[in-house]
């Protein structure tokens, strides 16, 4: 209850409030004096905008940052749910690489995908579990359909039967399409509002997977043709 109200109070107000509350609580132990250790000169401030500012308001924001920043949106939940499934597909394909892959650098990338994307999927699941106990009701199954770059069951089955450069070619083709899909999904989330932690994740996914696409394409260029 109180926590929700706090979200609507701009930070400096909260800090001032907190400082004065601290004085009240500390009063029993000497109050808010210099000797108490709370530096009376420590100031919590929100500076005015500089000259030529793009700000249309000069203080007294009518859209407190915390409301936008900390509220989990349906876009967040959609993105996180879809990305968990998307990561799991990459992990499944990459998990087929040992014993089948030929190119050593591709083997290293596959190993890294298994490690990193399964760890990220775990983090995303943790985020989701923490929210599922809250009052946010989103029909995830409806929204998780918007996944691009899916690695189909038939692709996985085919990969399981290939080895050597044939496996390598299939792997690169499927993984590049998969990563491009991840970037699209991340970009879609970045056009929406929501939890800024999720926005930062989306940026991180887009960045990391674009780097990996470039490396996969460089490997593909040198793979022997069938």
């Amino acid at each position: 209850m109180i926590e929700r109200r706090a979200k609507a109070v701009p930070l400096p107000t909260r800090l001032r409030l907190a400082a004065s509350l601290a004085c009240v609580i500390a009063a029993g132990a000497g109050g808010c004096t210099a000797a108490s250790g709370v530096d009376p000169s420590a100031s919590f401030i929100t500076p005015a905008p500089p000259g030529g500012s793009s700000s249309r308001s000069d203080g007294g924001s009518d859209a407190p940052a915390a409301e936008l920043d900390s509220t989990t949106t349906a876009a967040d939940v959609d993105f996180v749910r879809a990305m968990i499934a998307h990561h799991e597909q990459a992990v499944e394909l990459a998990g087929l690489a040992p014993g089948r892959v030929d190119d050593p650098e591709l083997a290293a990338i596959a190993e890294r995908i298994v490690l990193v994307q399964s760890a990220e999927a775990t983090q995303l699941r943790t985020w989701l579990e923490r929210r599922s106990s809250r009052d946010l009701e989103v029909d995830a199954h409806e929204h998780a359909g918007g996944m691009t770059g899916e690695i189909s069951r038939s692709t996985l089955d085919r990969a399981a039967e290939l080895e050597g450069s044939a496996f390598d070619r299939l792997f690169v083709g499927a993984m590049v399409a998969h990563h491009r899909g991840a970037i699209e999904m991340s970009e879609a989330r970045l056009t929406e509002t929501g939890d800024s932690a999720v926005a930062r994740w989306a940026r991180g996914v887009a960045t990391a997977q674009s780097l990996e696409i470039d490396r996969l394409l460089a490997i593909e260029a040198r793979l022997p043709q069938s």
């Binding site: 209850m1 109180i2 926590e3 706090a6 701009p10 930070l11 909260r14 800090l15 409030l17 907190a18 400082a19 509350l21 609580i25 500390a26 132990a29 250790g37 709370v38 530096d39 000169s41 420590a42 100031s43 919590f44 401030i45 929100t46 500076p47 005015a48 500089p50 000259g51 500012s53 793009s54 700000s55 859209a63 407190p64 940052a65 915390a66 920043d69 990338i109 490690l115 990193v116 760890a119 775990t122 983090q123 491009r180 970037i183 699209e184 970009e187 970045l190 509002t193 800024s196 926005a199 930062r200 994740w201 940026r203 991180g204 960045t207 990391a208 674009s210 780097l211 470039d214 490396r215």
Partner: protein, 632 residues
Amino acid sequence: MPLTARGLHGVRWAVGTVLVVAAAVTAAHAGAADAAAAGREPSIGPGLEWVAHRDNPFRQGDDPDFINSDLAFTGDHLVQGNFAGFSVWDIADPAAPELVSAVSCPGGQGDVSAVGDIVIVSVDETMSDDSCEASRVPETAENWEGLRIFDLSDPASPRYAAAVRTRCGSHTHTVVPDPSSDGRVFVYVNAYSRGASLHCTGRNPLQIVEVTLDSPDDAAVIGELDLFDDETAFGPEDRVPGGAETRPTTGCHDITAYPSKALAVAACRGDGLLLSIADPLAPTVLHRVRDPAVAFWHSGIFDNDATRVVFQDELGDGFINTCSPAYGTDRGADAVWNIGPDGLAKAGTYKPPRTQSDLEKCVAHSGGLVPVPGRFIIAQAWLEGGVSVVDLTDPAAPVELTWFDRPDYGYSMDFTAGIWSVYHYDGYLYASDMYEGLEVLRLTDPVFADAARYDDAGLNPQTQPEYAWIWRDAPILPSDDAERAELSTLGVEPAVLEPGTAADVTVSLPPGSLEPGETADVWWMPTKSVLATVTAGDDGSLGATDIVLPGPLDAGSYDLVVRGDESAPRLAIATVTVAGPRTDAPPDAAAERDPALAGDGGPWWLLVVAPFALALAYHAALAWRRRRRTAR
């Protein structure tokens, strides 16, 4: 006393924040030990003393919009960036940092620099406008991101002087001094496109912002260049249907400049670059390197000679734990590269030896050089892997010297967590913990004595200073008498001594002789050894200091020299004379420059001349003493 708000869910914001402030109260009284009572007692390696902890004044429970980021130092002030603004700490007493101000001005990451009274803050999240009341908006909405410049003339009330909009915001930035003016710095804005965006797509040029120290309000972009113009331009094939770039390098994550060597290392996502910054407005790429083992080039640190650089690989973007055996020692790790005429050659990798829990985030993050002569030692943050101090002198066999590492929270933070960066300043390590706050640590091993001796006037860790260990080499006195006479005069009492095994004397210098508060050594020139290390007074004087001149003291005259670390190469000199009864030592220049000669005897005529010369020196010394007394 439990000091964190964890577990107090219902009234978390109020009680939590009160406890944050209360923690500062307690910490001020009881120091670091109490702050650890929250149940997350860190593991601390040998030779490391935890001297202070201060809570993050912005913290709102586990909300990642209020986490600390990087650090910058100016004089006795430490500026700590935060995704919600920045804090200014008074660190005149490193064991008791005092919060001077907490400036609310949201926008991550809050990467900070400090130049004199100027604070520069990076904003790399799309904000509704440039003000400190702004809120976060989607990338595709109308937005502002870039650099904020604050005037810290009144540290208790920083003034927002300028907002410099840049094309892709500013993930980090790097201050490069203007070689032709102390009054101006250039700021390299490090940023890259992150996906669909209104203003930031394609390859992001390196934008350079000019900040004039006495008119920070006029800060503006004055140049931009493409460090990757040798690469083919972006084409439609490099975009996915949504418009995002799939090229590995659309800009740089961080740059570390080494101005005195005219070099910089740029960590640019998929590429590591060595730059020449001989012309800071026109940096050029000297070498470019890619490595299949490095997922994301995050940052770099030079050794003091600029013969090596260690790059950090931020695999997984700080969201996951890469510090487990599955990742090995070369993923999400440090990699040392030798700088050769033909480019960069990988020489080794390092990862802290402690396995972290999968509830933690751990990967190579920000750190800096610990200046130890002849060694390549860095202190570096590994997020929830803590602080690792490592000797990279032999890159093939790195040695962790010590560490500071908290256990996990019992759960995993949504975004990232742990120690963002750690840097050596004025003999202490300052670590910025995202949620927990500020940790101050002291390296107690004697190997760090030289590092501790630096009295830095300021430090932006991404602008590496060149360290010189001036105090390790004996002063060189001019042989020319006229030049000697120009050196300032060190007072010594008594100036004339009897021969013996050793002697007690007192040295002193009048105000203005040394830099206020600087460290200085008293050198005994016959053996080129330090007899005492002293601290100058606030007026630049050296108060009466008792020292023992080592014997045997044969007849002759000998030089005592005082040299300050900052006032060097200026020297203050005194000559003590050891008088009779032995008269076989000539008090001439030869004796003082090579005491071995004293007592060796000499040509017969010296026996005649010596007593006269000795008497002359004795009277001269007496006259000089009288003059000194009168002068006082």
